[in-house]
Symmetry: C2
Subunit: 337 residues, 2 copies
């Protein structure tokens, strides 16, 4: 392997000069710089990052940590997230991916190993990890889950406006009995989406019906169960807003199993817009949440924080918008435009 000293020898200068030339130091005469650059490239030089990082006390690595890499349904998250991150990340950065759980001892999470950390968080269980990172003084951005703590940079989708958009859409399609299958209790996203849903109800002068709030936990199975309890009601809702697409799929299956037609008999709205939402039967009307966009935005923020660690941490909510497909029936009704 070839080093700057080899280049130095070839160029007849000191290795210091080579180092400077290659790093674009203004101390080097442009002609020398060019000459050295050429030689380096001819010799196929590639820097040794261990040596480099040792002296600069950087790691050249940013770490992406996932809530729990086990969760089956979160799988497309990963790919999307990586896509978004890579888009913003200079290619010479290394990007490592780990589950929060299998990160091993928290001691291994230190500023020497990570220039910055992104946490793709799904639950409050991650807080221990998050606060460790923060106290270890590693630049940090938490993605995907809305945080209360203003001292932590955060980007997530605006679940509340998303929830509101979902219910608004149902209303605009003429629905007046709109139920909600709620997300996992305790998750911020669950409560925000419910809040948005209620915002809409209130704005339209609909009074919330206790029967129409049914618990779920974001799993397909819980969606299935929840839909069944809804279908058992005497006064069935005409539309139901599912806290995420997974539950919507469960709900669809429940309907199918009981011969309830979507959207003929009941309308469904999801949240997330996973890849599969467009291929369900019928295609699912849902709230689009762009994980890759969140990741990209978060990466930008992280990079900023790495430059200016003392800047005020930013919380950012990315708009979520409705994607209309075919799971919501449109009644002939008054439109309000």
């Amino acid at each position: 392997m070839i080093t700057i000293k080899d280049i130095a020898r070839a160029a007849g200068v000191s290795h210091t000069t080579v180092s400077r030339a290659l790093n674009g130091s203004p101390l080097i005469k442009p002609v020398t710089r060019e000459r050295i650059a050429k030689i380096a490239s001819d010799m196929n030089y590639v820097p040794n990052y261990n040596a480099k990082n040792l002296v600069t006390r950087k790691s050249n690595t940013i770490g992406l940590f996932f809530s729990s890499i086990e969760q089956g349904t979160s799988s497309s998250f990963l790919a999307d997230a990586l896509k978004g991150i890579r888009r913003e990340l200079d290619e010479h950065y290394m990007l490592t991916v780990s589950g929060i759980d299998d990160a091993g001892s928290l001691d291994s999470i230190n500023p020497r190993r990570y220039d910055g950390i992104l946490v793709m968080s799904q639950s409050e269980l991650d807080n221990r990890f998050i606060y460790h990172v923060q106290s270890a003084d590693i630049p940090l951005v938490v993605l995907n889950r809305q945080l209360d703590d203003p001292s932590i940079a955060n980007v997530a989708s605006d679940d509340r406006v998303g929830g509101r958009a979902a219910a608004d859409h149902a209303f605009q399609c003429g629905h007046r009995s709109i139920a909600i299958i709620e997300g996992k209790p305790g998750f911020k996203s669950s409560s925000e989406r419910r809040l948005g849903y209620m915002d809409s109800l209130i704005a339209h002068g609909l009074s919330p019906n206790p029967d129409y709030f049914v618990p779920g936990d974001y799993s397909i199975e819980s969606g299935y169960a929840a839909m069944n309890t809804l279908l058992d009601l005497n006064n069935r809702p005409t539309a139901v807003f599912c806290g995420n697409d997974d539950m919507a799929i469960g709900a669809m299956n429940a309907c199918f199993d009981r011969g309830v037609h979507i959207p003929g008999d009941i309308s469904l709205i999801g949240f997330d817009d996973m890849i599969f939402a467009q291929y369900t039967n019928p295609p699912l009307t849902t709230i689009h949440k762009s994980v890759s966009e969140i990741a990209a935005e978060g990466t930008k923020l992280l990079l900023q924080r790495m430059e200016q660690p003392n800047a005020e941490p930013i919380q950012r909510l990315l708009g979520s918008k409705l994607v209309q497909r075919r799971s919501v029936a449109e009644f002939a009704s008054e439109d309000d435009h």
Copy 2:
């Protein structure tokens, strides 16, 4: 940050002794080792991997490269793959994830940065990358795609036995007109799956019907289109083996759109057993291919290769087995058991 020299001072020994003690050298008296270990842990010591790697000429990093991180439907691959890899990988290894495309210049793929590389490959387009890695002398295992070159370690699912299992199952359920929607032309997996399908036909004395080979490219859309051409046939098949689950979903949608009932009117078998296969309507009978298992096995192999770079590279095919769900109709027919 605390270094071995700090520990040495605290313990009243030389830093070399500390290094040895911490690395479990047999040269150190057990009592001293314990004492030093205790001090190190009390002082919250964590080694500087840059320094370590600099002198040992290792990188402590293994790289996972994906065909193209863009492809939407391959997304669950990622999560599964990571799961499998992490299961085998000592936690002090760093694991980086990149798309083959966004890896930047191939020069950055060198033994200094990667102790070993896993390529989760989907197409022959990856060959350029693969051969670069090989010629850069980095221990390498190619996953997920069956390779012809015996000089490269490789683990993939046994597509041929999978294809055969699919067709066998259809046969055993009484089907005699079995079509195939083929995968992307040129992909090894496509031809292997077709081969397996034909193995079965031949074994059962069925003669292949040219109409029953319809091209696809592994995309949902191509499955949709292919199914339509199949449904246009005068002599429709009673079962169709789809080269992967995505195309099966496309096929399902085509059937639904034309009011063709599954499995009443036509049976469907997929390949891959993605998460969603169990939630389609009806749940999809498919060939289970365990990406996490492939990844785990590949990681083991890689670790071996890193230890003994000169050992004969191993090619390994992991069995694929049928998962029976509800997309295949069972005819009253002779059983052959």
